[in-house]
């Protein structure tokens, strides 16, 4: 690596992978609970497994983003990180806080956890994805601010590029929008309105900036295409992401008690949300087609291309599928949402973090690329996980269509649980495919331990 301080990215990436494994294990537990209702009850009730599954996802992606930022920003800024010690201290604080939170979910009843952690002082718990106790939320803010101070100082003293500025803008946005998690008005409409300012404006707003910057960084490195070309693409992509994504928040306001005009605003702007993902796919393939070198790390190239494709399918196509108000009237809160969520998170964010890990980890371990054998195993992991995720999405989509018909369209609509019984076959198939995903992830982890001669550029 070019700068010694980039090494702080390594523990972040290792933690990210460990937490990713935990997320998948809890996903498998939940998947089984869908069809075997009392599996692991009362030790791990469904609501707790779900909370752990989604919270681990958020935390491991945050670890991934932070690791990526600590690697990318010194290299782009052409200087050492402002304070590597601060970055390492924040790593341990975040890891301990994250682990304690997950253990709290698993070992203490949620209501007791809320009492123990000061939720009566400032009530912020009990909302989907923002279930973290108050001290954890405060910890996230402290870690994020320390990271932003560290990275901003590095950029301020160093070279400014489109990539490090977009990355920094995305990370600042991430921290600022998280502050809305502390605002929990008693009015349920207002609560949901601002809740989406964290959830939507993260994943369909500022996270897209982080994703675009990471993808652009890796593509410059593995293709050798001129920075000017890649930066122009990046500008257009992030402009489209913000133009469509900010007002696109309206697609969450159709049925929560907000004014009716949101059905128009939400539909029109969120219909444009696939555009940046479409452009990212085109961008990735175009850059690889125009490459000036054959990078020895072919696994990283595969992850980068896969990110483009899967983000477009998961976030773009499956998002558009149910984003228009007249369609969403039927699909809202069904398994269609779950299908979209799975493929979008994997395609857009899990894969871009894995792209970054795939590119940087060999360098952090002292070589440009892993051995051919290790890369082949990593590519197997890529295909197993990606194909499994495609099928998970398809089975959930099928379950969703059937669920909507049975619950919302049939002449004599079924109740929720009765409809769940009817779609159980798809849940079983999803669970089996989940095991394939788990196999892929295991292979991915094993690939880090495969030795052999370092691959060279052809």
């Amino acid at each position: 690596m070019k700068y010694q301080s980039q090494a702080v990215a390594k523990p972040y990436f290792i933690a990210a992978i460990g937490l990713f494994l935990g997320q998948i294990l809890f996903g498998l537990i939940m998947g089984l609970q869908y069809v075997v209702g009392d599996y692991l009850f009362p030790a791990i009730p469904f609501n707790v497994a779900r909370m752990v599954h989604t919270n681990l996802l958020i935390v491991w992606l945050l670890f991934g983003f932070m690791g990526a930022a600590y690697y990318l920003i010194p290299e782009e800024s052409e200087r050492e990180l402002y304070s590597p010690k601060l970055a390492l201290a924040m790593f341990w604080i975040f890891l301990v806080a994250g682990a304690a939170t997950i253990l709290g979910y698993l070992l203490v009843p949620y209501a007791t956890l809320a009492e123990m952690t000061g939720n009566d002082i400032l009530a912020t718990m009990g909302r989907e994805f923002l279930e973290q106790p108050l001290p954890t939320k405060v910890g996230i803010v402290i870690v994020a601010l320390a990271m932003l101070f560290n990275l901003s100082m590095t950029v301020l003293k160093g070279r400014k590029t489109a990539i490090n500025l977009v990355m920094l803008l995305g990370l600042w946005g991430l921290a600022i929008f998280f502050l809305f998690s502390f605002y929990n008005p008693a009015n349920l409409v207002k609560d949901k309105f601002y809740w989406w300012w964290v959830v939507h404006l993260w994943v369909e707003g500022v996270w897209e900036l982080i994703m675009g910057a990471m993808l652009a960084f890796v593509l410059i490195k593995v293709t050798g295409v001129d920075r000017e070309v890649i930066e122009k693409w990046l500008y257009i992509i992030i402009a489209m992401a913000l133009i469509s994504g900010l007002i696109g928040t309206g697609h969450h306001y159709y049925w929560i008690g907000t004014p009716e005009y949101w059905q128009w605003w939400g539909s029109v702007f969120s219909a444009m949300e696939p555009i940046p993902f479409f452009m990212m796919t085109l961008f990735a393939f175009n850059m690889v087609n125009r490459r000036r070198r054959e990078h020895p790390n072919q696994a990283a190239v595969l992850w980068a291309l896969g990110t483009g494709v899967m983000a477009f399918l998961g976030a773009g196509v499956w998002g558009f599928l149910h984003t228009l108000a007249p369609v969403n009237f039927y699909t809202h809160g069904s398994q269609i949402t779950a299908a979209h969520g799975h493929m979008a998170f994997y395609g857009a964010y899990a894969m871009v973090v894995l792209t970054m890990i795939s590119y940087t980890m060999p360098i952090l371990r002292g070589r440009e690329a892993n051995s051919r054998k290790a890369q082949v195993m990593e590519m197997w992991a890529f295909w197993l996980m990606t194909i499994a995720m495609v099928f998970i999405t398809l089975f959930l989509t099928a379950a969703g269509i059937l669920q909507i018909w049975l619950q919302r369209i049939a002449a004599e609509p079924m109740g929720f649980m009765a409809a769940q019984d009817q779609v159980a076959l798809f849940y079983w198939m999803r669970e089996i495919t989940g095991l394939v995903f788990f196999t892929g992830l295991t292979l991915y982890i094993v690939s880090f331990f495969v030795k052999g001669e370092e691959a060279r550029a052809s």
């Binding site: 393939f285 175009n286 477009f312 599928l321 398809l394 989509t397």
Partner: protein, 125 residues
């Protein structure tokens, strides 16, 4: 504009029209593609020729897969059965997404000044 950018822009236009036909203006974009195809199908330039021919042929296939096949399913299946709707919607979404992805690959190749052949359409170069 010199010759190289012009031939690339024709190739890009053909693939862009293929995508617009799938995503934004079905029918209208196909008519524009038809005009482009009639003008350049026998172009001396291989890049222009392959992209206009391929984009046109792929649009015809896409039309068949996205209009004729779902139409047949709707006509022959019992639309009061949820299983038929499940199959129809899944088929349409997957098929449409797959065709768009192929168009993205083709457009990326056109932008890079490279030829692209859609799967199973190698005879229409």
């Amino acid at each position: 504009m010199n010759a190289a950018p012009r031939r690339i822009s024709r190739a890009v236009l053909a693939e862009a029209l293929y995508l617009v036909n799938l995503l934004l203006a079905p029918g209208l974009a196909f008519l524009a593609l038809l005009v482009l195809f009639r003008r350049h199908r026998d172009s001396a330039d291989a890049l222009t020729r392959v992209h206009t021919r391929q984009a046109f042929a792929a649009s015809l296939v896409a039309g068949t897969l996205l209009v004729v096949v779902p139409g047949l399913i709707a006509l022959t299946g019992d639309l009061s059965q949820p299983a038929v709707w499940t199959m129809l919607l899944l088929y349409f979404v997957c098929c449409h997404a797959g065709l768009v992805m192929l168009g993205v690959l083709a457009l990326a190749r056109a932008l890079a000044g490279q030829a692209y052949v859609y799967p199973l359409l190698g005879g229409f170069r």
